[in-house]
Amino acid sequence: MPTVTYTQPNGTQQTLQVEEGTTLMRAAVSNGIDGIIGECGGQAMCATCHVYVRPQYAQALPEISDDEDEMLDCATAERMDSSRLGCQIKIDAELSGIVVDIPAGQL
């Protein structure tokens, strides 16, 4: 199974094994990873699943849709080049080992 590592703002890391096709948001919410809320259930409507993806994984990410792009502009924590909505990223073999940073706030 692919793995995902979530990094909290204080630097602590948790690594999960996730079934292929699971989103970064779903894996986090299902496993009690703090700081990823997913209030709209993965519809790209709430921006409470904002994460920063470490640059070495950027190549393997799906493209940002217009909707995701507009929502990210309004996320609570500052948008950076590495910003993505966790609900729009499905983990597959290619993304296995991905490391993301969780912003300090989502609301």
């Binding site: 299902s30 009690g32 921006a47």
Partner: protein, 412 residues
């Protein structure tokens, strides 16, 4: 010290979470009559119904949450009665004392009682069990009739089209989603769903269902006498708040458990939030009950703080979304059918917003496939920035630009 929360839905779990996160040291009990880990409802009428293997339900919180936060989830238990004098809740499996009690009991689907309404093949959509039944039935369904062109009905219509079904929607009112949307937006959605292939019948209610040869539902006969073949029916005619437990306990109910602006009932130890609560809305200036994730979670956070000793009025801006096939609707504030409206953007390209003005000031914004407008509107409306119609009509005006200039609140 103990807080007992009745209902393990969106509101119930959020109040438990906020209580613990913000320092509540007593016991926290969540009474959740549905079995299994509490889950999110919005995907049930959207992703969950897409063709293919059913996705697992999306939990509201993972199993570890309850352990980590020391929250007791009484899974599969129902609250049966409340003794307010003794501050006790009787459950299907025992009883619990409380210092604070929170009603987060949600709402149940309104049911049809026309002839034939209990035939097999007629569904509602509220719970995971309902969604599982629909997911199983959709791949072999051909002719689908939906009663009610509300959010659930139209989300389901889009899902049914994706399965290649013929879809008819009967709606008594002259416009879809008429209670929540402006006429201009309602009419746009009527045309949009028709262009996708939905046979949307407005001004036409359900009269009766007739069985087919197999004894299951075979046809839906409308109030005009027209008969529509149906092998699967979805009834989406709104909900009723689960408030009888409260009224049986002597609390006032009126389309929901009546609470004040701090979300307390007349008994200060008892609060109500989410789909089951009737509260004085700071934005609408009237008492109302809302059915949305925003309302459930924001009221939950507020109620937790009330329990922790705060005494502030609840004033969060209402917002809502609905995904109907290719159309992503987002609403900020509460539109009224008689609001003065202005359309910004491109209706033909399905990317636009309807700005609603009351007494010349912006009060709500409805957006289709325009999240930047929606997020800007939320910011502007929450800050009470009094955008006027004249400002909005100025050449080059965008909500996003307005929201990124320094905000000047007109109402405190």
């Amino acid at each position: 010290m103990s807080v007992v929360i009745i209902g393990g839905g969106q509101a119930g779990l959020q109040v438990a979470d906020t209580l613990r996160t913000e320092g509540y040291g007593g016991e926290i009990h969540v009474i959740a009559e549905e079995s299994g880990l509490p889950y999110q409802r919005p995907p049930l009428s959207k992703d969950y119904l897409a063709p293919g293997r059913a996705p697992a339900p999306l939990p509201l919180r993972g199993a570890s949450f309850f352990v980590d936060k020391n929250i007791t989830l009484h899974e599969g238990a129902q609250a049966l009665a409340i003794d307010r004098a003794e501050r006790k809740v009787r459950l299907t499996d025992g009883s619990l004392g409380y210092d604070h009690l929170v009603f987060a009991t949600g709402a149940r689907n309104r049911v049809l009682n026309c002839p034939g309404a209990s035939l097999a093949g007629i569904h509602g959509l509220k719970t995971l069990t309902d969604a599982e039944a629909l997911h199983t039935a959709l791949p072999t369904a051909r002719n689908i009739v939906i009663i009610g062109a509300g959010f659930i009905g139209l989300e389901f219509a889009a899902a049914a089209l994706a399965h290649g079904c013929d879809v008819t929607v009967l709606e008594f009112a002259p416009r879809p989603m008429g209670r929540a949307l402006t006429p201009v937006m309602g009419e746009w959605f009527a045309a949009a769903h028709r262009s996708q292939g939905v046979d949307l019948r407005l001004g036409e209610g359900i009269d009766r269902f007739e069985p087919g040869a197999d004894g299951r539902v075979g046809a839906a006969v409308s109030t005009t006498g027209a008969s529509y073949p149906a092998d699967l029916v979805l009834v989406g005619i709104g909900v009723q708040p689960n408030d009888t437990l409260a009224s049986d306990a002597g609390l006032e109910t009126s389309n929901g458990v009546v609470v004040d602006e701090t979300l307390r009932t007349a008994d200060p130890a008892v609060l109500a939030i989410g789909d089951c609560a009737s509260f004085p809305s700071a934005h609408a200036q009237v008492r109302l009950r809302l059915e949305s994730v925003q309302n459930a979670t924001d009221q939950a956070r507020h109620a937790a703080r009330t329990v922790l000793g705060a005494n502030h009025p609840y004033t969060e801006l209402p917002w809502f979304w609905s995904t109907q096939g290719p159309y992503r609707l987002q609403m900020a504030g509460l539109a009224r059918p008689d609001d003065d409206t202005l359309v910004l953007g491109d209706q033909a390209a399905a990317k636009f917003s309807v700005l609603c003005f009351r007494d010349g000031v912006l009060t709500a914004v409805e957006s289709v496939n325009a999240p930047a407008d929606h997020m800007a509107a939320r910011k502007l409306l929450a800050a009470g920035t009094g955008i006027t119609r004249d400002q909005a009509e100025t050449e080059g005006f965008t909500l996003k630009a307005a929201a990124s200039t320094p905000l000047v609140p007109v109402v405190a």
